[in-house]
């Protein structure tokens, strides 16, 4: 008798995910999975020690990512991921601290924490899924919602000017800033890889299709239609002026915007601490 052993098929990336947390909560056509996929690819290609990575998220659809990635992870209160992550990075600078969160979380309720984390140039890597709305609560107007867009709280068309996130990040002091859409998977992965190797505060924005919620009210009812918009409107303009990179129905400027060298806050702080600690010890002895 021939005995056959069946080896279970394990996805090569299984080790990066907490499979017990699956299925994920994301809708069909959502781009969050693409962002998570790019992040996992970047981790795999960089061969980083998973025990030394902390993924921190705020509240929202993409905020659940912290629970899905198989590293140390923390799901904070709404908007506070960066403030929490600041405590982590300062307490243990050897950890790679990655904040994965959404546009509403990072730039409305968490806007103050964002500009100050960038100003300090603390070595936190921020990955933002920008879906132009509040997805989890059913599609309200937010700080990135384009002018005239219809949402459940701007039913007559949005009259608030949206934030241009790459401009805000650059102006606040980030050392690396890039924007891609869920269509630019390879370039997105390259940007994530690049930022993981950089010192200081880094920001990568990914425009994420939200056909179920944002698209529903804005004549892009399927993921394909939203991707169609990204395809037709996206223009790669590397190192162009981020101030001119507003997202409009006709044009989405994508690419890298900032890539500079600057001493990080945690490095400066810990160097200073060592110096003062030495002196204090001399005084005692």
């Amino acid at each position: 008798m021939v005995q056959e052993t069946v080896t279970p098929i394990v996805h090569p990336f299984s080790k990066y995910l907490r499979e017990e947390m699956m299925p994920h909560i994301w809708c069909p056509g959502c781009g969050n999975g693409i962002l998570m996929n790019s992040f996992v690819h970047a981790l795999d290609e960089l061969k980083l020690d998973l025990d030394k990575i902390v993924v921190v998220s705020g509240i929202g659809c993409i905020g659940r990512t912290a629970g899905y990635i198989n590293t140390d992870s923390f799901h904070t209160t709404h908007g506070r991921a960066l403030a929490f992550a600041t405590g982590v990075k300062l307490a243990n600078p050897e950890l790679e601290v990655v904040v994965i969160s959404g546009d509403g979380d990072l730039f409305a309720i968490g806007g103050n924490h964002f500009i100050h984390a960038a100003r300090r140039n603390i070595g936190i890597k921020v990955l933002c899924a920008n879906n132009l709305t509040y997805g989890m609560t059913g599609g309200q107007q937010g700080p990135t919602t384009p002018l005239d867009s219809v949402t459940t709280t701007s039913v007559y068309g949005n009259i608030e000017h949206p934030f241009n996130l790459v401009h805000l990040a650059a102006a606040s002091g980030a050392t690396y800033v890039a924007r891609w859409t869920s269509l630019h998977v390879r370039r997105l992965t390259q940007s994530i890889k690049k930022m993981m190797g950089k010192e200081g505060f880094c920001f990568v924005e990914m425009l994420s299709p939200c056909p179920e919620i944002f698209g529903r009210y804005n004549k892009m009812r399927s993921g394909l239609e939203m991707m169609g918009w990204f395809k037709s409107a996206s223009v790669v303009e590397n190192f162009s002026d981020p101030a001119k990179a507003d997202i409009t129905p006709d044009k989405i400027v994508v690419g890298e915007f900032v890539d500079i060298e600057k001493l990080s806050f945690e490095k400066m702080l810990h160097e200073k601490i060592s110096e003062i600690n030495e002196k204090a010890m001399e005084k005692v002895s």
Binding site: R18, E20, M21, L50, D51, K52, V54, V56, R64, A66, G67, N70, T71, D72, S73, F74, H75, T76, T77, R80, A83, F84, A85, T86, G87, V88, K89, L90, A91, N92, E94, L95, N112, H113, H116, L269, K272, I273, S274, I276, N277, A280, M281, K283, V284
Partner: protein, 383 residues
């Protein structure tokens, strides 16, 4: 590992805020995040100088919301962490105090109370935040709050607050006031071996078996920190023992929230501290806490000189409330007097515990705490 400078052992003349900062250093706090606010600023100022000397971290955050979030992050990274504030900042911190409760992050929050509501009286003392200490964040939970009456206690109870916080994995509050914060008094800093230091229960065993929110018999789960290889998840959402969100199960919610309450309530005999002065035969008992207890003690002594059998029950622990101690004192007493610098907060708890014993409330707002004569007058009137 950084070398550390010895404690400034011996007698000192210092103010309460500085004593609190030194207490934190003595117990091993090596992370402070804060935002300037009167009358707690001196704690931050002192630690901004002292922390680097000891290899510790001082960071000024953009607001109190961020300060509270940062100390939770530092706590989860293995450091003993603290923040200090006053009323307006304490209110902003409530959101993430809830997160620290839900994720069981040991940390200490100092509230040097001033007059409220809102911006109120920045430079005046108050005791108006004591109910906020218990109920300030939404949801049900157990919390520990201590009330120092002197500069020495700003030092001692900061140490105690850290020890309780590490033992029970709960944010612990030091509810000082503008007077104990700014007053200068003698403080004796004991040598290191005389200071009791408690550290959190660490996770052990293989990481794949670790369940971050599975509690031991004392209802407290052992704690892993980031970077130790446990690769755990923690969330402010209702979660199971694995730390994973399970937000629709009444069983998971009930088990978690009851444990968060019970781990404090069921250990309350070990947590609660009071000071009992001349209570054995006391017919009138003054129940007081914080700076007001100093005037109360003086009033009780004066009453004794006048032949009135008075005693003092000083609440060192405000939360969990010393219910048994109040009930015991009330059983023998004909009258209870509660002086507070608010419109009536802890007095409600005292009334509940005192049952049928009449309670007189002495409210004082705005400037100075009660004088001993004012409390004595209430004792006399009642008897």
């Amino acid at each position: 590992m950084m070398k550390t400078r010895n404690l400034p052992v011996g007698p000192h003349f210092m103010n309460g805020d500085i004593a609190c900062a030194e207490g934190a250093i003595a117990v091993g706090c090596r992370f402070f995040a804060g935002y300037p606010i009167t009358p707690a600023t001196e704690i931050a100022e002192h630690l901004s100088q002292r922390m680097p000397e000891l290899g510790g971290i001082y960071v000024q955050m953009e607001d109190e919301i961020a300060s509270m979030a940062a100390i939770i992050g530092a706590s989860y990274s293995g450091l003993k962490a603290m923040t200090a504030t006053s009323g307006p900042g304490f209110t902003l911190m409530q959101e993430n105090i809830g997160l620290a409760i839900m994720t069981e992050a040991p940390c200490v929050i100092v509230d040097v109370m001033r007059g409220g509501p809102s911006t109120g009286q920045p430079t005046m003392p108050g005791q108006q935040d004591v109910m906020q200490a218990k109920w300030g964040s939404h949801g049900d939970y157990g919390i520990i709050a201590l009330s120092p009456s002197s500069v020495q206690e700003m030092f001692n109870l900061t140490i105690e607050a850290f020890n309780l916080s590490e033992t029970y994995r709960v944010p612990t509050l030091l509810m000082g006031d503008e007077i104990v914060g700014h007053m200068w008094e003698k403080v004796v800093i004991p040598s290191g071996e005389k200071i009791k230091i408690v550290n959190r229960k660490k996770a052990n065993g293989p990481p794949e078996e670790y369940m971050p929110f599975r509690a031991d018999a004392d209802l407290v789960p052992p704690m892993a920190c980031f970077g130790e290889g446990y690769r755990f998840h923690a969330t402010g959402l209702t979660h199971n023992e694995h730390g994973f969100p399970q937000t629709s199960s009444s069983e998971v919610q009930t088990k978690l929230v009851r444990r968060l309450c019970d781990k404090i309530q069921m250990n309350s005999d070990k947590i609660i501290k009071v000071e009992e002065v001349m209570l054995d035969d006391a017919e009138v008992v003054v129940v007081a806490y914080g700076i007001v207890a100093r005037a109360a003690l003086s009033a009780v002594r004066k009453a004794r000189e006048n032949g009135i059998k008075a005693g003092l029950l000083r609440l060192v622990t405000l939360w969990p409330f010393p219910e048994k101690q109040v009930a015991r004192a009330a059983q023998k007493a004909k009258l209870i007097v509660v002086p507070e610098m608010n419109c009536g907060q802890m007095v409600r708890e005292v009334e509940r515990a005192a049952k049928t014993t009449p309670v007189v409330f002495l409210s004082k707002l705005g400037e100075e705490p009660h004088t001993p004569m004012e409390i004595l007058e209430a004792i006399r009137k009642g008897m």
